[in-house]
Symmetry: D2
Subunit: 188 residues, 4 copies
């Protein structure tokens, strides 16, 4: 079965979005990219920095509350439906809950052919890129670099520390091509 | 049953996004806003201005191809799932296909409690706002102002020509409150 | 002498940027638009929310420090040079320092033909537009609506509360046309 | 004399903006960053893709007309004034006119202490980053990678092909520090 969902998991400034756009460019079929940034954008402005919503601390820490999580659960279910209905979907995610975050997606994506990709980037490099983007809140890149991968299982890992987004995308695309016949869900 | 989806349909520069953000601010529960702009953003850059994708002509005309429509159908199904899974959803849409566009959403949203809202704006006013936004392609506002409403049935209509977004949002919110017990789907 | 600089002064969410873009569209010659947002964008991210920089309080209050003011003074001098060198310039400003802010610009623009335009918007309307834009920090519109006009002298005032940006721009353009031969600097 | 202006010249997607933001972060004093993107943003939307304005061809070629050039000349004069008035300025530029573009800046910046920095990036790498950014028009990176450096003289060159923005910024900052006492304008 052909892959229906590519989940890119990595910390802030690890280069997931660039890889996602390169994947959209190199893959022969059209793929949608959605991600936690899409979700935050869709939420009320009032859910930012409030109890129950999502908070960004001055040191780069991120906390999410119950309202955020409820919307996120419904959103994940919706993304799974999109993929099941025929839209190939790249998910650009930050597994702040580590293995538990993966489990949440696995349950939602059950029955779909998913490629789990870890997007790694050394904390020092990601921190430099955080500066280069002009982010006002610094520290997210460093605090998430290792954390989001703990206990998470991947079909493939790429490291953007010294590999360009396009090259990472090509490796993922090659993996898709080669494994198209026999890939099984990580959680299977 | 409480309303689960608010569909705002109107032409470009009619003020739907402003109303959606005001709704998110005035409604007591958190609502997600998604829309055709979200969808376009999620698509590959290569689907812009190509056969099969979405094209924006110099005169403001918009054409969508088969690849766009296939992704859109899956995306609509996903949005319906989000709403069914408990996320209240505001849909910010442009029914270029008029009654047929509404029918597509109605089928996807069947079983959900939907409020259909027409967002009108006089063509001349919308054209002025298109200029004020600094849009490079002019003409979309004028060409869509009437067209997107043809044959579409609403529970409520607002007109932003001389009413602010916040006031429009309040009227929609009032309608939600008052009709909470008895609203029926338009397509019912 | 033909007008070389149009200074638009008004509070946050009063509609200055929309008027500026409409002016650029309706005026026969090309005009540049610069403003305090341009300046903030050009500054280091670290000047946000720090001593010496610019701070945005949770209630919408804005405070600027000495480093901000030093950069601003040099930037104003540069904008004056642009206008003197032949670029027609629309300045999109918020006179937080009221008459003193105007005096600063007057000194920099001495010898140039300037049209001073007050852009008014009722606090309640501007607050609604602040919500409609999805601003996370609310209150700036209300706190600035009256304050920025105190003691400031104008050649022309427009009010966006019930007049569209394009119509406001047309009135300003008409004023330019009619007064082209005889306008004198406010500070003259 | 301390450096007053840092001119970063490089092709599209060569990484100038990231270096500029890192410079703003690592340099002890506040620096403004302005550039050709700032200028285009300030121009009327109607100057895009018209005679006399700036045009972006489907193959990534860029052409500028007489109106664009007139505004640019005045803008450059203004930037020079900002630097002379005490604002340290980083100029993020694309010398489409090669040595002639440099000459234009040299004339405007005469009397100021300028550090000329070439920002190089291999065409293939820059093209990959163009994809990763999701640019709709591809080809600018490749067509500008070599061209903009032809005949241009630098105090320092950095290459982002295999060096991160932050490291490039540190080299530039080190150069500033070391040469602070004795740097002379390239054009001197």
């Amino acid at each position: 079965m052909a892959t229906q969902v590519i989940v890119l998991n990595g910390g802030s400034s690890s280069g997931k979005s660039g890889i996602a756009r390169c994947l959209q460019a190199v893959l022969p079929e059209p793929w949608l990219t959605v991600g936690v940034d899409t979700l935050i954008e869709a939420m009320p402005a009032s859910l930012h920095d409030t109890d129950g919503g999502i908070g960004f601390a001055a040191d780069g820490g991120v906390s999410v509350g119950s309202k955020f999580q409820a919307l996120q659960a419904a959103w994940i279910a919706g993304v799974a439906t999109m993929a099941g209905a025929g839209a190939r979907v790249i998910v650009d995610e930050v597994f702040l809950g580590r293995a538990e975050s993966q489990l949440r997606w696995e349950k939602a994506l059950v029955g779909l052919d998913v490629l789990w990709v870890g997007v790694r980037c050394e904390a020092a490099v990601a921190t430099g890129r955080e500066l280069a983007r002009g982010n006002r809140i610094l520290g997210m890149a460093a605090s998430q670099a290792e954390l989001v991968h703990q206990g998470v299982r991947y079909d493939l890992e790429v490291d953007t520390s010294r590999t360009e987004s396009l090259e990472c995308a090509r490796r993922i695309a090659a993996h898709l091509g080669g494994d198209a016949a026999g890939s099984a869900p990580v959680g299977g």
